[in-house]
């Protein structure tokens, strides 16, 4: 880890002022992603700005749903009664992620910005278009068993966001409030926050330089209340998803009135599937419907040598999750 200076920021303005003065500076909240990457010499920053005392806090009921401050910790949000009651899938996505220790540390704003687990990105000895633009992508023909089958490009097939929370947030129409260096706030839906790799895999989100995540708002809905997050991994706990599904259904008289579907572990970004949702709405809540929705979700998949299993795995994960909420 390179040497760096450290300062605390007690307001958003102070924090963004620091990164205006020192564009290479990074914000630190929980530190669980940032320090991991800095120790591996994958990121270097001359200054860290500690944003833990900025009052981006609280889990509040609003007229339309919930508002959660970006500085809240994964464990506190995951076990919060309001989140559990109104968004079980979001609670489960948090509590099935990482470990209890990491969940006590990691802010949800930081979780949204965690970076890929692609082995080539994480080893500075290899080329990587995400880390060194234009250097190449050994994953295309190499060890790609944990990489994406949806949204890939010839430049990058990494699951850029390897986590769980944003998959559930994308499914349930969560919106991020961001604040830039001019003190101006804007709203960005989570499903639009992440970018496809295309020819610029180094650009992963729409976040501007120095912009902060302030809060997440999630609209209450019947399909959100009847929701789940199913995560399939190589071991039963404390591992990243090979495939995961955040789903919610509003079923009346056996017919699906509204549906939300997002997949994790298989896309280059948290993969909201309007195709699957379209295949569900207006149909009977049966396994046959769920199978058709799963096929629709994976129709555009571009599997590689080692990750071809994910096409079937993701479909089965999605069907199982839908069966669970259909009850």
């Amino acid at each position: 880890m390179n040497d760096f200076s450290y300062t605390q920021a007690t307001t958003a303005k102070e924090a963004t002022g620091r990164t205006k003065d020192q564009p290479q500076a990074a914000y630190i909240a929980g530190g669980t992603t940032l320090l991991d990457l800095m120790k591996a010499n994958l990121q270097e920053h001359p200054q860290l700005v500690d944003i833990n005392t900025i009052p981006f806090k609280g889990i509040e009921q609003t007229k339309d749903g919930l508002r959660i401050g970006a500085m809240e910790r994964m464990s506190d949000v995951g076990e919060n009664k309001l989140v559990l009651e109104q968004f079980p899938a979001i609670s489960e996505s948090l509590l099935l992620a990482a470990s209890p220790q990491l969940r006590n540390m990691a802010s949800i704003g930081g979780n949204i910005l965690q970076r890929t687990r692609c082995g080539y990105f994480r080893d500075a000895a290899f080329p990587c278009n995400k880390r060194v633009p234009g250097s190449g992508c050994p994953a295309l023909e190499g060890d790609n068993h944990n990489l994406a089958v949806l949204g890939t490009s010839d430049s990058c097939i990494a699951t850029a966001y390897p986590g769980d929370l944003s998959v559930a947030l994308a499914a349930f129409d969560a919106v991020l409030t961001l604040e830039n260096q001019k003190g101006k706030q804007r709203q960005v839906p989570v499903k639009d926050f992440y970018l496809l790799p295309g020819n610029t895999p180094q650009k992963e989100t729409v976040l501007e330089a120095g912009e902060l995540i302030v809060a997440i708002t999630i609209p209450a809905a019947a399909h959100a209340q009847r929701s789940t997050y199913l995560k399939v991994r190589e071991r039963s706990s404390y591992a990243y998803a090979l495939a995961s599904a955040a789903v919610g259904l509003d079923v009346h008289g056996g017919t699906i009135r509204s549906a939300r579907v997002a997949l994790g572990g298989v896309g280059t970004k948290p993969w909201r599937s309007p195709e699957a949702e379209k295949a569900l709405v207006g149909q009977p809540a049966t396994e046959a419907t769920f199978r058709a929705a799963a096929a629709a979700a994976l129709r555009g998949a571009q599997p590689r040598k080692e990750n071809a299993f994910k096409v079937e795995l993701a479909q089965n994960t999605l069907v199982q999750a839908l069966m669970k909420v259909a009850g």
Partner: protein, 216 residues
Amino acid sequence: MHSDLFPDAQPEASQPSDGSRRTFMQQAGGILGFALASPIASQAETLAQKLAPVNPVISGASPMQLKINGTMRTIQAEPRVTLLDALREHLDLTGTKKGCDHGQCGACTVHVDGRRINSCLTLAVMNQGKEITTIEGLAKGDALHPMQEAFIKHDGFQCGYCTPGQIMSGVACVKEGHATTDGQAREWMSGNICRCGAYPNILAAVREVEQSGFKG
């Protein structure tokens, strides 16, 4: 919800932790308040900016105060020194172990303000003003903590390297109410890896402490 996360019931909402604010910010609040009371907004903002406290930038080896096991300790360390390295290299508190140094193994688990964390992924400088408890702080004199007793009784280790982290995690796991069934305890202890594979005995120790009613 029937799962190993919450086998019996949904837990009560936990209280979000309130980050400690630095004293000089509280003092400065008055100055800022005064500045904003100025009649012309633009002037007030300029004045507020001038008077607004700017937190100092710390670089190079600098004094830090850490409250560890109830005792205030002062070290000289660079901002990049992790809490784990501060404990081991600066304070000779070598009970906390460095395993992977990347938050993957749990050997470095300590409690900060009563919550278990990985000390390898937090900076010492960020933990000033907090209550840090390490494995050295569990026993009361010669009287071992019940979790330490249970690990000895159930032979919850082989080489012993992961043990301090397992014990710190186990104490927190019981206190959190996450050790009420075998399945739940396994899930909520999954952040602590044991290469020797002493898991059945670790589980027996954690479950025994939970069933004894000890909440630590």
